[in-house]
Amino acid sequence: MKEIRIGVISFEHMHALSYTTELGKIEGVQLAGIADSDEYRGTKMASRFGTKYYNDYHDLLTEGLDGVIICTNNSMHCQVSCDALDSGCHVLVEKPFAICKEDAEKMLNHAKANGKRIMNAFPMRFNPNVIEAKKAVDEGRIGTILSITGINHGKIPSGWFIDKKLSGGGGVMDHTVHLADLIRWFTGSEFSSVYCESGDLLHNRNIDDTGLVMAHMENGAFVTIDCSWAHHRNYPIWPQVDMEIIGTKGTIELKAFAQVNHVTDQKNSIIEDLCWNEDGDAGLIREFADVIRTGREPNASGLDGARALEVAEAAYRSSKSHRQEQVIHVEA
């Protein structure tokens, strides 16, 4: 098997750490280099993973890579992705796909023009518990899906995440997309209208940290997404991705991060729930490597990323108008 060479652009989003670690576990994959405009962070990571450091990502892109993983802040996804695609790389870009529809369309067009694949990092599609629930749905165990209630709670992130210019938005941008993607995947239907109530309600950081989205799917199902950074510092677990799925023949309650050990550590005054199963990152990175090898359409494609972004955008419009907003779809 031919070795494939993958680079990582930026550790601004901390998921880069886990993605790069997973890369190292795949046979026949070489980590070709790490680019990061933050020299301190970049050199540290390059030495940690035993690879070459580049200050300017353009330099990394001249190294004849097969693919890159992009974990810059959200506002840079578009430029960096387009540059990478133009250089002949397949791309895996962190979610949200982009910060606006126009950027998303540009990225999809660059992929098409260069004959390369662009994939969006939706690790939940590769979470073993999500896969189990999806399988039950596909086997018809609960009949036709009529409604889904999704909760993606978490703690409020810091740094660029809470700077609208760099992140494109708060919880509504950061968390709506995960569940919007899973809902599309589970129902096989597109979002048609979206309503949202959101605001800077919990943490006083001048960004939407709390949001409730309700939407109608083209097939008639209705769904909700709670995209709030609802948890505080000492909440026992970081990620929460839950779905209550109501079908014509039954229901499913999915708690994607329920496989935990409850740990009480009195020396450090910590009580926490630690997941012991794969979270989804491993599967995501394996998928990307396989897409590079085969050139096939990825599970969690760029178009999936763009479709989820459309929902977040409609949610922001609705938050302002207090009305149900139609989803504006990107050109496929």
Binding site: L201, T210, L212, M214, F222, D226, S228, H231, I246
Partner: protein, 329 residues
Amino acid sequence: MQRVAIIGAGTMGRTHCNAYLNIPDAQIVAVCDLDRSKAEGLAVRHGAAVFTSYEEMMSAAEFDILDICLPTYLHCKYALDAMEHGLHVFCEKPIALTEEDALKMIEKAEECNVRFTVGHVLRFFPSYSNAAELCREGRVGVPRLIRTTRNQAFPGWSWQNWYADYEKSGGPFVDLVIHDIDWIIHNFGEVERVYASSFNGKAERQEHGIAILRLKNGTICHVEGSWAYPKGSVFRMTYEIAGTDGDIEYDSVKDAPVWIQSSEDGQYRSDFLNPMSGPVEPYMLELKSFINAVEEGREPLISGQEALSALRVSLAALESSRTGCAVTV
């Protein structure tokens, strides 16, 4: 001592009768149900007279309070008549199916100078009242995000299957979610705007409704009520209150102290029990609170107006789920 007559000896009639056994200041003197055996079943422990018609009971029995445990669409008619006869009225929730009916009941109680309350019992559930109390103490800072669920199988046990007729029961928003709506309004603030969705009869013997509420103080709420769970599934209620400094969560199944599994004739059964007996039994508490108000000649804890406020939000949810427009309350 207050003399009480119960009309409607179904599920709630039975629940109330049991509760009165622990209220020394009240005595059940009459039980009325179209089905004599149901009325008798309840009356016997109280030594109460049995009736199969309201009119008959009104002419033959003497009492101070009518406790209405009838299907919702009958609340208004019997409440108005009882008030006109000078009786105090305890009415099961929801107060009525329409604003007009609710207003008539409120006005009639004033006009006839009788006490009137509605069974928003959730306020007396120890977990719910404790959570509200913790919030008042500031344990979670300012409550900002509230989620509630109230989920069960399609109600198939009722008299003439009246729950299944949404014209008679109002469906989950009016019948089920109204519990949480009242609890939210009372403890967390008035509702400004409602957006909601539900199956609205599209699915056969399955109904499911979710409303997003924006309160006047800015807090947002996700309230869910379901009759879409598979037949035989356990009733479950949950809440989560996220505030500026912390969060409170409760789940009647996950947090149930007693889980019973059994097998009878090859039929598996699973029950999650949350015993609330003695001084914290919520139905006893709500009835006792009303009895005390009547005895002391003061306004009951839960006024007709409050019951109407909750109904308005439920009806707004229903309207929104039909039109797709957010409704300002």
